[in-house]
């Protein structure tokens, strides 16, 4: 590493681990003091009572114990429970709360993702009411879920969300429900009473939930379709919390398989219902409610894994540096004493990989959370506009939106043009069009949410394993600082619940094809080129080329057929659609990191706390971007190339296969026109009249029609120039960065 050390010495690099000042700028809450305060408050809970529980071995049982139960009170006191509510319901933060909830999950998961799940699941249970409930339902339930204030004598209501059912029913495929709802009693002029039967599997919060929002299907011709119903602990019938899930992860959350057999008034149907021709018609089907709930909460899950990766950096550095201290022959001045395992390049490079995965995951997750913060009010405005225009019913709405989509594409194109070149009046007109703005945000949110859930948790789980390996044998012991082993195992659940990776890939394979998204993606690609013009050392140019390669591949694959003439891009062909979804997620992760690094560069110097370190920080993050892009380019190149050429049949030494091969006759004919040709094709794929062929590995496949692909790919590979130098520099920075004396939570 000596040479690198020299180079690094020329450029300032990271001095301390990135603190709150850095994070607030990168994740864009430097001006949100309310969020900063909540983050600090949650941190105190995470690194205090939560860490204490883990350190005391509370995770060694899947049962919900009285010790674990104390967490609920800690959450209540720190404002974690009430953060989800609106001020009029007893909450304390106004406006959209995606970024807020993301920060809460991030802080808790920094120590223990089960604790984060515990807090998240309560919100998940309430989300159907929050997002889709009638005003009466909101007024009834939200305030009761606010922790009781001093002097108030009531039990805090807690919610759980019951979608998943025992095998063979809902899991990944949430369409088929075994949970049933029937009319139990319907007296003339009165509210119908419903009979709800639902068995849940893996339902979080079930040890203490007093209400459950449960997905059920109609088993009665007097009820149409499916819906979500609110069940209360005191409803008439059976409320059986069921057996505890014997889970080996996230033990600081409660999970059980409950059984409900209850009678409830029809007013409990989430979003209300209408009665038509003697039939109860729920205003919202279960899938409509679930869609709007998961859309938001999945982002939060993605941030849990991100937090864990970032939390691993400090304990690993400390372990590496202290690895050889304390030996008899130790000289405190020696590199062995000071750097320990950090003398080894591989250990440093692998830690850079873990760190950069965490950075990119956090950047992607927080970008998604902010996007939803923009999207939420826009969605409400859209509903208002549709109401005002009297547009009702799914079909009419779809038609209106289809029309608006064209305008939205136009808007996106106009917005990307320099002011001087665009039609200002038209731009302003479209900018003021709520439906247009809604669609633009929606198309991006529909991609960002699954991309973040998929990439952060899936790739994150793989990288958490790497983090554990960096601690050697210590990594798999209970004493390992930072609870890294738990964090690794937990990541598997984050990749599974709220829809496993297959569900995210499936969703992406649809949403990423929206013309509106693709148009934005094209513009983002151009933006990335512009960034690389100004900041060549971020690797933005390689990223832009990888984005271009992906775009070419997506378009090609939608038209292309496989060797048997079957369409390549169709929903059943996961082998094509899923890897493309993965590739897109990598691209978005890298892009988000680049944008955050630029934000730090732009706004960091304004913060006096960072003044002395900003140059080093900027250099370090540039190197991290370049390093990450190096990996992204590798993955995207591999996926796209495999898909673009992999479904063409490899030629054999057969005349009909060898469309690109020459026949001896052709060569002879051409020789008369191009003298010397025969000599030049010696060793090429020439098939003789007797079907003989040269002795070589095999006939070469044709790339006809893929010249552009090959050019982009070649350019992309060339654009990787410098990415390993960047990695070396980032690795060197890890040997110099100052870390605290000890971890700020117990082990």
């Amino acid at each position: 590493m000596e040479k690198t050390a020299e180079r690094t010495a020329e450029k300032p690099t990271l001095r301390t681990l990135p603190g709150d000042d850095v994070r607030q700028i990168m994740w864009r809450f430097a001006d949100r003091f309310d969020l900063q305060m909540v983050a600090q408050s949650v941190r105190a809970v995470a690194r205090g009572p939560v860490a204490q529980l883990v350190a005391n071995g509370a995770r060694n049982t899947h049962e919900w114990t009285p010790e674990k139960n104390t967490l609920l009170e800690a959450f209540d006191q720190a404002g974690i429970t009430a953060a989800f509510m609106e001020p009029e319901e007893g909450g304390y933060i106004a406006g959209p709360k995606n970024l807020l909830l993301a920060l809460i999950a991030f802080e808790l998961a920094w120590v223990d993702a089960g604790a984060a799940t515990s807090s998240l699941a309560g919100n998940l249970g309430l989300s159907p009411i929050h997002e889709c409930g009638t005003p009466e339902q909101k007024a009834t339930y939200m305030p009761r879920c606010i922790p009781a204030q001093p002097g108030e004598d009531r039990k805090t209501m807690r919610a759980a969300f019951a979608l998943t059912e025992p095998i063979p029913f809902v899991g990944v495929d949430t369409g088929v429900l075994a949970g049933k709802v029937r009319v139990s009693e319907w007296k003339e002029g009165e509210e119908p009473i419903l009979h709800v039967e639902k068995r849940g599997r893996f339902i979080t919060g079930m040890d203490f939930a007093s209400i459950v929002t449960a997905a059920v299907d109609s088993d009665d011709e007097r009820i149409k379709g499916s819906c979500l119903v609110i069940l209360e602990e005191d409803d008439e019938g059976t409320w059986d919390r069921g057996a505890a899930t014997m889970k080996m992860v996230h033990q600081l959350s409660s999970t059980r398989d409950p059984v409900f057999n209850l009678k409830v008034p029809a007013s409990r149907i989430v979003g209300g219902y209408t009665v038509k021709d003697g039939k109860i018609i729920p205003n919202l089907s279960h899938s409509e409610v679930i869609e709007s709930v998961f859309r938001r909460t999945r982002v939060t899950v993605g941030l849990m894994t991100a937090a864990k990766l970032l939390s691993a950096v400090e304990p690993v550095i400390r372990y590496q540096r202290q690895r050889f201290r304390g030996g008899a022959a130790d000289n405190p001045e020696s590199p062995r004493y000071q750097l320990g395992i950090q003398m080894k390049e591989d250990a440093l490079h692998r830690l850079v990989d873990v760190w950069v995965a965490g950075e990119a995951a956090a950047s992607l997750g927080f970008a998604a959370a902010r996007l939803f913060d923009e999207f939420d009010p826009m969605e409400k405005l859209k509903d208002q506009v549709l109401r005002e225009r009297g547009i009702e019913g799914r079909r009419a709405i779809l038609k209106t939106m289809k029309k608006a989509e064209k305008l939205a594409v136009e808007y996106v194109q106009l917005a990307a043009k320099p002011e001087s070149e665009r039609d200002a009046a038209r731009y302003e007109e479209l900018k003021a069009d709520v439906l247009v703005q809604y669609l633009v945000l929606e198309s991006a949110a529909n991609v960002y949410c699954p991309a973040c859930k998929l990439w952060n948790t899936g790739h994150g789980a793989d990288m958490m394993r790497q983090a554990v390996s960096l601690m050697g044998g210590y990594g798999i012991t209970e004493d390992c600082p930072g609870f890294l082993f738990h964090k690794w195992m937990d990541a598997q659940l984050e990749a599974t619940y709220e829809g496993p990776e297959a569900v995210q890939r499936r969703q992406l394979s649809v949403t990423m094809l929206s013309p509106l998204f693709l148009e934005q993606f094209r513009i983002w690609t151009r933006e990335m080129r512009a960034i690389s013009n100004l900041r060549p050392l971020t690797g933005a140019c390689a990223l832009a080329t990888a984005m271009e390669l992906w775009m070419w591949s997506v378009q090609h694959l939608q038209e292309a057929k496989d060797a048997d003439g079957n369409k390549l891009y169709n929903s059943a062909r996961h082998g094509v659609t899923f890897p493309l979804a993965d590739a897109l997620s990598w691209l978005l992760a890298s892009r988000s990191l680049v944008l955050d690094a630029l934000e730090l560069e732009a706004r960091g110097p304004e913060n006096p706390n960072l003044a002395e370190g900003i140059e080093g920080l900027v250099n370090f993050y540039r190197d991290m971007c370049h390093t990450h892009i190096g990996e992204t380019v590798g993955v995207v190149g591999k996926i796209c190339t495999e898909l673009v050429v992999g479904y063409n049949r490899h030629p054999e030494w057969k005349r009909e296969d060898c469309t690109t091969c020459y026949c001896q006759q052709e060569v002879d004919n051409l020789e008369s026109i191009i003298p010397g040709l025969a000599a030049s094709v010696v060793g090429a794929d020439v098939i003789g009249d007797d079907d003989s062929h040269p002795v070589k590995a095999g006939p070469c496949a044709s790339f006809r029609g893929m010249e552009r692909f090959a050019r982009i790919r070649q350019r992309m590979d060339g654009c990787l120039t410098g990415c390993r130098i960047a990695k070396d520099r980032a690795a060197q920075a890890l040997t110099e960065v100052m870390i605290p004396e000890a971890l700020d939570y117990p082990q």
Binding site: D21, M37, A78, G613
Partner: protein, 269 residues
């Protein structure tokens, strides 16, 4: 006390104690390596004083708590985020160096001036709280000078408890040698109290309190006046961190006398 107290808590900030502190010579004298970038906390002694102030205010209706802090304001902002949800207070920020190398006389001057400038200050109700020492300097000189400059002659240091009577008088427990306390009775405000740890636990967070505090904190930070305090004129011949020595043994059920004997023997060498 009728009408309540006006309690002003003086509190600086110090680097988070888990951080590596490495003295260096900066452009304006001695400093700690990367100090601005390291996370900071409210000085733990002042932290206790703040809890005690809030508790006293709660028990005496009409009372109000101010927190006067001299620190780099961007750093102070981060620290306030960690304490704002604990207790209600109004922040008065003074923008200046928070390091243990700043002259305590200068710091006292600034603090006293800021207290004098509090609108509606009524010295007959004034209790000035602070730490009996700080985690950055540990000299215990600042608060005494603040008192002197404000003309407050009733001063108590190493305070662990204050019990106010309905007539406005109060009883104070000050630490003295041998783990014992000196009990004094003071006729009433104004007085200055340099707190030791007190005996209140850290109050739980209360987001509503936090949101209320926040409304005042941001304007206070924005209008923070630059302070003249510093290490001007002072030269430091040498700077070193106290050497940490650790010799830990875990032995179960050892009698207290035994432990004491061992420690005494160890100190004697």
């Amino acid at each position: 006390m009728t009408g309540g107290f006006q309690i002003v808590v003086c509190g600086g900030i110090v680097p988070n104690p888990l951080q590596t502190l490495e003295p260096i010579t900066g452009p304006s004298g001695p400093a700690l390596k990367n100090e601005a970038m390291l996370p900071a906390v409210l000085d733990p002694w002042a932290w206790h004083a703040l809890f005690e102030a809030a508790n006293l205010a709660k028990q005496n209706p009409g009372s109000k708590v101010w927190l006067v802090a001299l620190a780099p304001k961007a750093k102070l902002q981060q620290v306030v985020m960690t304490i704002a949800q604990k207790v209600p207070f109004e922040l008065i920020a003074i923008d200046g160096p928070a390091s243990g190398f700043a002259e305590s006389a200068d710091v006292a001057e600034e603090l006293a001036a800021a207290i004098e400038a509090i609108p509606g200050l009524d010295k007959s109700k004034l209790l000035v709280f602070g730490g009996w020492e700080s985690a950055s300097r540990g000299a215990g000189t600042t608060m005494q000078m603040v008192g002197e400059k404000l003309g407050i002659v009733d001063q108590f240091q190493g305070v662990d408890e204050l019990k106010a009577a309905p007539d406005g008088s109060f009883e104070v427990l000050e630490r003295i040698e041998g783990g014992r306390h000196q009990v004094s009775t003071c006729a009433g405000a104004p007085a200055l109290l340099g707190w030791a740890t007190g005996n209140l636990p850290e109050p739980p967070n209360n987001p509503q309190v936090g949101m209320a505090n926040m409304r005042g904190v941001m304007p206070a930070l924005q209008k923070a006046k630059p302070a003249k305090a510093g290490a001007n004129g002072a030269t430091y011949a040498s700077v070193a961190l106290p050497q940490q020595r650790r010799a830990t043994r875990i032995v179960k059920d050892t009698p207290v006398e035994e432990i004491a004997r061992e420690i005494a023997a160890w100190i004697k060498g």
